[in-house]
């Protein structure tokens, strides 16, 4: 046993050194993504987009770019470690990531400490960029998404809404609160139903909401639970409107819940048919369809693409691969034509952009409307 451990350690050390002894004539960028664990689906989709952008634009300032993956296992300790290792051991110029907000908070603290720019493609919690100089994102923030959902609910003519809150996800909690604020201010009524990530049975909550006379359900959460809630709402005889958020903007929602999610509305970052079109969006769509024939990109892929493109643009603007200059350049970006719409990064590092409302019709995600900030 001891001998085995010794041999094993030696092999690992050899491997490690091979990785560190690398070519210096390239710009290294680490994608610190959740490739396994609870959020792995989002990580994989986002990575598809990054890969496409990287294949289209493999160099900047005449220097080749090397993008490589670090898996956070959807865990914030791993996220913080991964970012630290990328910056200190691998000498990256900037970080793409992380995917979920909790991980971005942990990883962002490290990036801030080590003065290295980080661009999160998908983290929507307001805290992610709060007070940070080096942490940015290309997606919208939860506050805005929750407000948009409340406006949508009113447009649909609902007065009493049951909000299903996942107490385990800060993403869900924040969306629910922002929704409540906006919705009650304009005279609506909100009742809460609670659940926890990984729960499978929501029949009791659904029945309670129906019994209390909810006209519509607002479901801020991730697709695993949202799909099951919709399914059980359908099975238990709920016929009102269903509105969810970008966490359910994944093909699995339809695969799992089938006809139960017919008519479900989502506040999303992106839809290929939305009118905010530009040359980058078209290029991205073409490249995606070439690489994955017969498939349409998910919003996460589009955001992954945009995160890479925004970083590339910032390196170009900085004029040299210098960490601090790149970080400053990111916040100068205005009306950048991204695949998910025109992106302006404001002083807080947040992207100012429109919310796309998507509806599920005949099992397809179709474009519905736009809600402006």
């Amino acid at each position: 046993m001891k001998r085995f451990v010794q041999v094993f350690l030696v092999v690992m050390v050899v491997f490690g050194t091979m990785l560190v002894a690398q070519n210096m004539d390239e710009i290294k960028v680490a994608a610190v993504f959740s490739m396994t664990g609870g959020a792995s689906g989002y990580g994989r989709m986002t990575w598809e987009g990054v890969e496409i952008a990287w294949e289209m634009y493999p160099e900047v300032l005449g220097i080749p770019i090397d993008v490589y993956l670090i898996d956070t296992k959807s865990d914030k300790v791993e996220a913080a470690n991964g970012v630290r290792r990328a910056i200190e051991n691998d000498g990256v110029l900037a970080i793409l990531g992380n995917i979920i907000s909790g991980n971005s908070l942990a990883g962002g603290a490290v990036a801030e400490e080590l003065k290295t720019a980080m661009v999160s493609p998908t983290s929507t919690s307001p805290l992610v960029t709060e007070g940070k100089k080096f942490v940015n994102r290309v997606c919208f923030i939860d506050a805005f998404q929750g407000q948009a959902a409340a406006k949508l609910m009113q447009e649909l003519g609902n007065q009493k809404v049951a909000v299903f809150m996942d107490v385990e996800q800060d993403y869900s909690v924040a969306l629910a609160r922002f929704f409540e604020d906006t919705f009650t201010q304009s005279g609506g009524e909100v009742l809460y139903e609670y659940f926890k990530t990984g729960d499978q049975d929501f029949s009791a909550q659904v029945l309670d909401a129906i019994a209390k006379g909810a006209e519509a359900f607002y479901l801020p959460g991730y697709y695993q639970e949202v799909a099951l809630i919709c399914l059980q709402a359908y099975q238990n005889g709920f016929y009102g409107d269903l509105v969810s958020a970008d966490g359910a903007d994944a093909p699995e929602t339809v695969e799992i819940a089938g006809e139960a999610v017919e008519g479900l509305f989502l506040t999303a970052n992106y839809h290929p048919d939305a009118p905010a079109f530009n040359e980058n969006a078209e290029e991205f769509l073409a490249a995606y369809e070439k690489k994955y024939p017969g498939e349409k990109p998910a919003a996460f892929a589009g955001l992954g693409f945009d995160a890479y493109m925004v970083l590339l643009k910032a390196i170009e603007m900085a004029g040299e691969p210098d960490r601090e200059k790149v970080a400053q350049a990111i916040r100068q970006i205005k009306d950048f034509p991204g695949a998910t719409g025109y992106i302006t990064i404001n002083e807080q590092g947040n992207a100012e952009k429109t919310v796309t409302v998507v509806r599920i019709e005949n099992g397809q995600f179709v474009y519905d409307s736009m809600i402006n900030p």
Binding site: K73, K76, V77, R84, A106, P126, E168, Q169, V173
Partner: protein, 361 residues
């Protein structure tokens, strides 16, 4: 013929020398290694405390507790809420606001040492309350009830959002934990449990472990002894939690942060190190911290001879759990068994094998 045992004075001098050597090594490490490696070294110390306190509860007294992460979480939350400044709390608790006793100056901005101690004390209190009903149960029921209690603690942390900020967790905890705090506390933990094991109390515990019925007939109060050691284990788990929180700088009650995964990881450490051995627990913790960093290679893409080989995600946990099962089947005693790495044991090894050890317990 040389003497079979070393004199007590020699042993004390050697131990003292080792501590001085360790201090020098840590000083050297802090100055010369990059912060990433230094952080891994401090994490190893924190893992060491978790492993030592769990192995004491499990190995030395024969109880299998699967609720360690619960006490770590209690310590982490208590101390973090105490060291955070009032302003930080108010920005963190942006959805619900801070509840009464926590929103006072008195319970904010506390220095690290008293906050950690309080974290340990509160965790010990919780361990006592959990232990009271649990300790009356036989071995395997205990495992499940402690697991259940840890889950209850986690879910309460999740739902009591005015005290714990719920799923948002606590952010912006000051990064107080460095190699000195973590290894210093590890030394304290080791000294405490080593002398505890040597005392009459510890001997009674071993008697209970080997045969609870016989121990009972000898007049040993099984319940009291087990409850006291369970509480002591809880105290040091709380200390480890405080150090862990101030290492992470942000904590939340998700299963991967302070939930069952942490208990399992600690269990892996003590199984590899040897159940019931304090020095084994430290070795196990060190191996775990180092291996989990090295094994990242199998999870990330590797370039070999110009080809990019895709990493396999989730591979690390597979390797650890396979190692765990193999150890249990083929070498149940782990690296150290129930033995401890002592100067005497080393002394007797020198002429035959010449192996060197680096820890003393």
């Amino acid at each position: 013929m040389r003497p079979k045992k070393l004199s007590n004075t020699t042993q004390t001098i050697l131990t003292f020398g080792l501590v001085v050597l360790a201090v020098l090594l840590l000083l050297l490490a802090e100055d010369n290694l990059n912060t990433y490696l230094v952080r891994i070294i401090s994490l190893t110390g924190v893992f060491g405390i978790m492993a030592v306190s769990l192995t004491f509860v499990n190995g030395a007294s024969g109880m299998l507790s699967l609720g360690h992460a619960g006490f770590v979480a209690v310590g982490a939350y208590t101390s973090s809420l105490l060291t955070m400044s009032l302003a930080q709390k108010q920005t963190s608790f942006l959805l619900t606001g801070v509840a009464f006793p926590l929103n006072t100056e008195l319970l904010s901005n506390m220095p690290f040492l008293p906050a950690t101690l309080l974290g340990g004390i509160v965790a010990a209190g919780v361990a006592f309350v959990v232990g009271w009903p649990s300790m009356r149960l036989a071995g395997d029921y205990l495992a499940i009830t402690t697991l259940g209690f840890a889950e209850i603690i986690r879910i309460v942390l999740l739902n009591a959002s005015r005290f714990t900020n719920g799923s948002l967790g606590l952010k912006g905890i000051s990064p107080f934990t460095n190699v000195w705090w973590s290894w210093g506390w590890l030394l304290v933990t080791l000294l405490f449990f080593a002398s505890y094991a040597k005392s009459s109390f510890g001997r009674a515990l071993r008697a209970i472990r080997d045969d609870p019925v016989a121990a009972k007939t000898m007049g040993i109060n099984v319940f009291r002894h087990q409850l006291v050691s369970f509480t002591a284990g809880g105290f040091f788990a709380g200390i480890a939690g405080s150090l862990y929180a101030h290492w992470l700088t942000s904590i939340d009650p998700k299963p991967t942060t302070l939930g069952m995964m942490l208990t399992f990881n600690t269990l892996i450490m003590i199984v590899i190190g040897g159940l019931g051995s304090l020095s084994g627990a430290v070795i196990g913790a060190g191996l775990f911290a180092v291996l989990s960093e090295l094994l990242r290679v199998v999870e990330s893409d590797t370039v070999l001879f110009g080809f990019r080989i895709a990493g396999i995600s989730g591979m690390r946990m597979l390797v650890f759990s396979a190692l765990f099962i193999l150890v249990m089947i083929f070498r149940q005693q782990g690296i150290m068994g129930r033995k401890e790495l002592t100067w005497n044991a080393l002394w007797q090894k020198i002429p035959t094998s010449g192996k060197r050890g680096n820890r003393n317990a």
